[in-house]
């Protein structure tokens, strides 16, 4: 009985030290659970995907990231169900056509740049990948075009 108690005590100490070892190392990564913070995180920007299915390029990229514990894909929301079935996470940005159609005139450039920045900080990826344009190039291109186009209606 006494031996068993000592054994348990020893285990408890061992576990406590393990917990110390696994202290979160990505303090800004608020969307990562403690467990996920221990693994590799990949953020994939796939902003200009079109069509009903994931592009070959994206599928290939995701295959390469098989060993990552957490993969987040930033893409149009029609791919969410597919990505969910692959156990990936996802984010999205309003696309150019949606913004023009909405007729909402605001400082989209600032808003979307802040949003991109927060996606990066809240997931704190170890690696970033882009399929198509980088978020910066994507935003530059479409903000320029959105601003030169008349809004659908105001």
């Amino acid at each position: 009985m006494i031996r068993e108690r000592f054994h348990n005590l020893g285990l408890r100490f061992a576990l406590r030290s393990l917990r110390k070892l696994v202290t979160p190392r990505k303090s800004g990564a608020v969307l990562l659970s403690d467990e996920r913070q221990q693994g590799n995180v990949a953020l994939v920007w796939a902003l200009d995907q079109d069509g009903d299915q994931l592009s070959e390029g994206l599928v290939e990229q995701l295959k390469k990231l098989n060993s990552f514990e957490t993969v987040i894909v930033v893409c149009p929301p029609r791919y969410f169900a597919k990505l969910r079935s692959m156990d990936h996470f996802f984010e999205t940005l309003p696309d150019q056509a949606d913004i023009v159609r909405s007729g909402i005139s605001r400082d989209w450039d600032l808003y979307l740049r802040r949003r991109v920045s927060r996606i990066r900080s809240t997931w704190a990826p170890d690696f970033e990948f882009t399929i198509g344009p980088s978020p910066e190039d994507y935003l530059n291109a479409f903000i320029d075009e959105a601003l030169t186009r008349p809004a659908a209606q105001t």
Partner: protein, 728 residues
């Protein structure tokens, strides 16, 4: 936007102030003048006090404008329509220009015991600093005028009163009483204590007597509990049990006495009684308002007046005629033009005329926030409401639903944020994240209204809308909660309105979501595809590429994310084997991935959202009993076997399904009863049986307008521009 009269008013008052506004806007229209309203919120009420339905109806029927948030109207006369609204706690989000601006004083500044009702010392500063006009007061009666003079506000008084009006045609004259019959004496008023005399006074003015019955509408239970015994000749009715005019028709005499602390500013209840031709017995001080139209008495003398009236039919008749003619001559709607002209009088203009400005900005933005949910219920209701509000506003969806593509594909701007559950985050961390995300979006989109549909408003949501603070927020939450969640329902007070979409089985709802009709606005069921938007059978089948002639069974067993429908699916396949003429059509949203393994040559699959428009394609259905499916199928009179998902995190689907089955609208069976499912599918396959169910469903006609009912109230609450497609 040019108006003759602009009312800055709280549309939630339950009593005389609102009734007088109702008749003011009617009279204004009859006088050929144009009225507009900017809704404000008086600190006298809980934040989520419901709008006064009768007033909303009048606004709608008279075409009175709710000034859109994006407009800056100009008016000849602007009326801040209650003294509680000239208060530092009351924001006014709409700017306006007015030739004259008045505070209409509906209440004395102090009660009978000298206690102040308002902070009158702040009125002048607030009028100048916030409304840009010198303080000018329009009392509703000579009683209020005297009170204002006594309290040092003579300098701000206008020469004329803004007298309350009434439309006598709404108050049919009471028929003569049978001689020597028992006299029915009555009164009505809000249940607040000050409207009722203390027990000793009440027993004096409403005494036990075989000659009289006292019928009282609005006495509260706490008030009545003060009495040791209630006299046997008292009849008590709850406030608003009957429409006022109907209640008054049941009386012979009206008698109104109140607590000794109250000074009635006007006594609108007495005006309503006089309009019906009821002889009225009231305190002496009301003579200032009602002249010789009433009998005046102290409470202890009141029974002498009743005696005289009881014994003299001619006295009753004479009093009745005098009452009606006094009301018509003094308070009829035709008096409006006169009081308006006096208020327009340029010698009383409170500020020099300002140059006309025509400021109109872009369409306002609404932000529809939805929780993730297991299915598409939250998102579907928000979409239904957004569609009902129409294109005069820009609706942005801000959702945790992974099916947000559905809103985007319909044409809405849609944002997504991941929810805590799948991320396996603790609630506190996720709420802190969501707070930042939503606040940034609110500051960016600058919405005029935030709608939330979900069972629990997250702390991050509440914190962000509070921090933004520039618009009303509204909670849409369906009923049929499975358990009491006081921590959820207690959050009502964070919202400016709480709407409960109608449930056909409301009568069996245990009521855990709350039952207070003053705080929760109940509307018809909210449907994304109401019956009048549905395609006919042939057209729907053609669009879905389904056989023209076959007997088609719709299959919609929900997302199955948190509930196992395997048994129901197996039974369905066996049923298809048994019935060679039956074809089943499983319908999923276009976002759903094909992951099922149950194949059958007569089990077809279609992907479509929303399905409602196509429901007439089907002869019968087997479905989960979620809110939207249940109500859409019954609205379509589609005979359905409902298999409730009774996962503990869901609403009481089994109650909904069983209630409908008992009413004859549908069949119901538990998901773990293969025998029952088989038998009931067989019943549905019988055309005669289906006819009976269709007939039973069709009894629920004309109650599918919930989305438009909510939209209409949101237009008032958030001052949204009217939609051309607005429905009653």
């Amino acid at each position: 936007m040019d108006l003759d009269v602009l009312y800055l008013a709280d549309l939630r008052f339950p009593g005389g102030s609102t009734t007088s506004l109702k008749y003011d806007i009617r009279a204004c229209k009859q006088a050929g003048l144009k009225a507009g309203i900017i809704p404000l919120s008086s600190p006298l009420f809980a934040r989520n006090q419901i709008l006064n339905a009768s007033l909303i109806e009048e606004i709608h029927s008279t075409g009175t404008v709710i000034v859109p948030i994006t407009e800056r109207p100009r008016a000849k006369v602007a009326l801040l329509y209650h003294p509680s609204l000239l208060d530092a706690q009351v924001p006014c989000r709409t700017k306006f220009d007015a030739d004259t601006f008045y505070l209409v004083v509906h209440q004395t500044t102090r009660d009978r015991r000298g206690r102040p009702n308002f902070q009158t010392e702040r009125w002048s500063d607030l009028a100048v600093d916030w409304f840009g006009h010198r303080l000018k007061l329009l009392p509703v009666s000579n009683i209020v005028r005297k009170d204002l003079e006594l309290n040092g506000l003579s300098h701000a008084l206008h020469d004329s009163d803004w007298t309350n009006l009434i439309d006598p045609t709404d108050f049919p004259k009471k028929r003569s009483r049978v001689p020597n019959s028992q006299l029915v004496i009555g009164r009505h008023s809000r249940p607040s204590f000050d409207k009722w005399p203390s027990p000793p006074v009440a027993l004096a003015c409403y005494p036990a007597s075989p000659k009289f019955t006292f019928r009282m509408m609005g006495a509260s239970q706490p008030y009545l509990d003060q009495f040791e015994t209630i006299p046997g000749n008292w009849q008590i009715l709850p406030f608003s049990k009957l429409p006022v005019a109907s209640f008054l028709q049941t009386l012979d005499v009206y008698s109104y006495f109140h607590s000794d602390s109250l000074i009635e500013a006007f006594g609108y209840c007495v005006l309503e009684a006089l309009a019906c031709g009821l002889p009225c017995v009231v305190p002496q001080y009301l003579e200032d308002i009602f002249g010789d139209a009433c009998f005046y008495a102290e409470p202890e003398q009141a029974s002498h007046v009743y005696d005289r009236l009881w014994s003299s039919c001619s006295m009753m008749e004479k009093a009745s005629e005098k009452a009606v003619s006094y009301v018509e001559g003094t308070f009829g709607l035709d008096q409006f033009k006169h009081k308006f002209d006096l208020a327009c009088d340029t010698s009383n203009v409170s500020r020099p005329t300002v140059p006309k400005r025509d400021e109109t900005s872009a369409r306002p933005v609404i932000m529809a926030v939805t929780s993730n949910g297991v299915g598409l219920g939250h998102l579907s209701r928000q979409l239904a409401i957004a569609e009902a509000i129409g294109p005069t506003v820009k609706t942005v969806f801000f959702s945790m639903s992974e099916a947000i593509e559905i809103a985007r594909s319909i044409g809405y701007l849609a944002e997504f944020r991941p929810f805590s559950r799948r991320l396996e985050l603790d609630t506190e961390t996720w709420n802190a994240y969501f707070f930042q995300e939503l606040l940034d979006a609110l500051n960016f989109y600058k919405p005029s209204l935030v709608l939330f549909d979900g069972s629990v408003p997250y702390a991050g949501f509440l914190g962000a809308v509070e921090a933004y603070g520039k618009c009303p927020r509204v909670w849409i939450r369906r009923g049929l909660w499975r358990t009491d969640r006081p921590q959820s329902s207690s959050l009502d007070g964070h919202f400016d309105a709480v709407f409960e979409p109608g449930e056909l089985c409301h009568a069996a709802d245990p009521g855990f979501a709350g039952n207070d009709p003053e705080r929760i606005a109940r509307v018809h069921p909210v449907l994304l595809s109401p019956p009048d938007k549905q395609l006919g059978k042939e057209e729907a089948r053609q669009e879905l590429k389904l056989p023209k002639e076959a007997t088609l069974c719709l299959v919609q067993l929900g997302s199955e994310a948190n509930f196992d429908m395997t048994l129901a699916r197996q039974v369905l396949l066996e049923f298809l084997d048994r019935e060679p003429d039956a074809i089943a059509v499983e319908v999923r949203s276009p976002l759903h991935l094909d992951d099922r393994t149950d194949f059958h040559e007569r089990l077809l699959s279609r992907k479509i959202f929303p399905l409602g428009r196509f429901l007439k394609a089907f002869d019968y259905a087997i479905c989960a009993a979620g809110y939207n499916t249940f109500h859409e199928n019954i609205a379509t009179s589609l005979p359905t076997l409902f298999i409730p998902n009774n996962n503990p995190e869901m609403d009481l689907q089994e109650l909904r399904a069983d209630y409908g089955a008992r009413a004859g609208w549908n069949l119901s069976c538990s998901a773990d009863d293969p025998y029952g499912i088989g038998e009931k599918l067989q019943l549905l396959h019988d055309p005669e049986r289906r006819k009976l169910m269709t007939l039973a469903c069709s009894q629920n006609n004309d109650c599918w307008n919930g989305a438009h009912q909510i939209a209409r109230q949101l237009r008032v609450l958030a001052q949204l521009p009217a939609s051309l497609t607005e429905k009653n």
